[in-house]
């Protein structure tokens, strides 16, 4: 949760951030390594999902906590938001590229994985486009002819 509070948008509110972290934990808890991946229309090769990243991400969290204690004499959960973000910014700035990974499983850092997992949700996409698109959800066909409704005040993931 200490990382979630630092990397997820504060404007969505604390309950939504908590829910996003809980969804992330449930998601990675149900991950199955070496499952057959989708092979596309043009792909002749069968590929499999990668190793479970959770142990590596847990190690990163433990290291973050140790770093916090080394620098600030307290665990990361007790740091204020600005210091937490400073620690994470230093780590993320060293990563190549600028995009959140399309598949969070491939994220090289737990913070990126959490951000990417949240950003892939329909609710996050609605926030980005400021409209109730409902991407990826099954919806009534006839409604496509109208533009999506704008977000209402208080809409949050």
């Amino acid at each position: 949760m200490a990382v979630g509070e630092a990397v997820l948008p504060e404007s969505i509110g604390a309950p939504a951030r908590s829910a996003a972290v809980a969804a992330f934990l449930a998601w990675i808890g149900d991950y199955r390594p070496v499952s057959e991946e989708m092979h596309g229309y043009g792909d002749a090769e069968i590929t499999y999902t990668p190793a479970d990243p959770a142990p590596g991400w847990n190690a990163q969290l433990a290291a973050l906590d140790l770093l916090s204690r080394a620098k600030h004499r307290t665990g990361i959960a007790a740091l204020d938001l600005a210091r937490r973000r400073a620690l994470l910014t230093a780590q993320l700035s060293r990563l190549p590229g600028n995009r959140l990974p399309a598949n969070p499983i491939t994220a090289p850092h737990v913070a990126l994985a959490l951000m990417a997992h949240w950003a892939a949700t329909s609710a996050a996409i609605d926030l980005a486009y400021e409209a109730r698109i409902g991407a990826g959800n099954c919806r009534v066909l006839a409604e496509v002819t109208r533009p999506p409704l704008p977000l209402a005040p208080g809409d949050s993931p």
């Binding site: 596309g40 099954c138 919806r139």
Partner: protein
Amino acid sequence: MSAAREIESDICIVGSGITAALMAEKLAAERDVTITVVEAGGHTTPLRERALRRARWQQYGETPWPNDHVDDQNALGTAYGFSPSMNVGGLAMHWGGVTPRFSPEDFRLRTLYGVGDDWPISYEELDPFYQEAEERMGIAGEQGPPEMDPRGQPFPMPALPLSQNLQLLREWAGKAGVTMWGQPSAKNSVPYAGRASCQRCDTCYPICPTGAKYSPDFSFDALVRAGRVRLETETLVRRIHADARTGRITHLSANSTRRPGETVEFRARSYVLAAGFTWTPHLLLLSSDARFPDGVANRSGLVGKYLCGHRNVAAQIQLPLPLFPGVNAQHSLVTKQFMRPGALARYMRHDLRVWESSFGQEPRFKDASGGVLLGDAMLAEWRSRARRGVARVRAYYDVLPARESELRLDPTVRNAWGDPMPRLAFRDAPESVELRGPTEQAIRELFARMARAGDGTIVSSASAAGDIGQEHPGGGCRMGTDGATSVVDRDGRAHDHENLFIAGAPTMVTASCCNGTLTFGALGLMTAARVGRDFPARA
């Protein structure tokens, strides 16, 4: 090894993809026949599991169609456009459900433009079979302008409604002089054939969770339930045996893929190969013997030759339009304006499709100067890019195949039974090599004109790589009137074997410049009509 199990029927169909499904449906409905369908793979993911499989795909990238392949049965070489799908439903289980027809010009390229080869059938002759394929699958379509989009009868279902995004994009295309309409699709716009209407779940490809998109397993489930078809799964047909004197096919020999030592023989009056453009010529070539040293149906030497497909040029165009990606993301606009160009100084034909796009709108953790974005800063930066409207445009263009665009047996790679695997190499005919550059340039100029018409900017442009194969491939057993220059006749009957039929994609002379699935099915139905004539009508 135990004695072979024998299965006898009137008609034996090899393969259970979309062409086989439509043919089996037609033959079972119209003829008093027993039909066996042989599939190398197993059953596909049943409809009741598809919502769950879709969720796993969305969350983890897991395939919704696990184990839809036979491990050592794969193609080599430039295999793009080929997927090793072996299960009930075939490669159509990976299908997006897009169903354009070819245009009348496709069947007369030599006559009209002096390039490629004419087909032995016309568009008008195929039209009723297109219609039948559309009705059997259930196609929702919008009639385009009749001069661009000729058809004998209306679509069986009303068109999928155009989203606000597509309405805006159609208006924009019109400003550039391009007439567009909704792409026909095998997706229910209203309840049809016992299946619900589309709920725009946005995952038609790779999986429709509701059954609103047609897939061939629906046909087979109904046929098997009704006792009209015997479906033998996990059974790989490895040889076709022909009578040395008459040339008639006597039986097929196969092995169980689950119990490789178990052999099965299929005996029938008529045999149909509906195993797609890779495995059909592969099986014919594998079936060589002393009497047919170059393989079955290969007196012309053209089995495995003239593999055809097409390539594309694509772009992303930023436009000052309020577009919202994800409203019905897999539905698109289409035009045949450039497939029916009339007289040409230099041959060029292509289709054109337009979608809403989220290109350049992906969430990021760094800003343009490399600063890390967290929390609201990340969301604000994402919003700033999401406000840009972007259209994805893509044009498939005609590629004319060389004779040496071919599938051959590669003795260096073999399956569990020692059979050599197919190696594919797509090659353009010399005239097509010359046309490639000017064609791609003309399409890029069209995109630039469209961008200008909408005060837009091309933000990305790409051409399909030419050395990895071709899209929507077919050929390998092309049809024709002359047994010296083709493998099958206009009905798909092998010139060399009176009771052997080849159906769908392999029989194509050229692959047009649009998705081929509907045409595979229509050709299969035309073949089924001919196969059926040898059997009594169903009471």
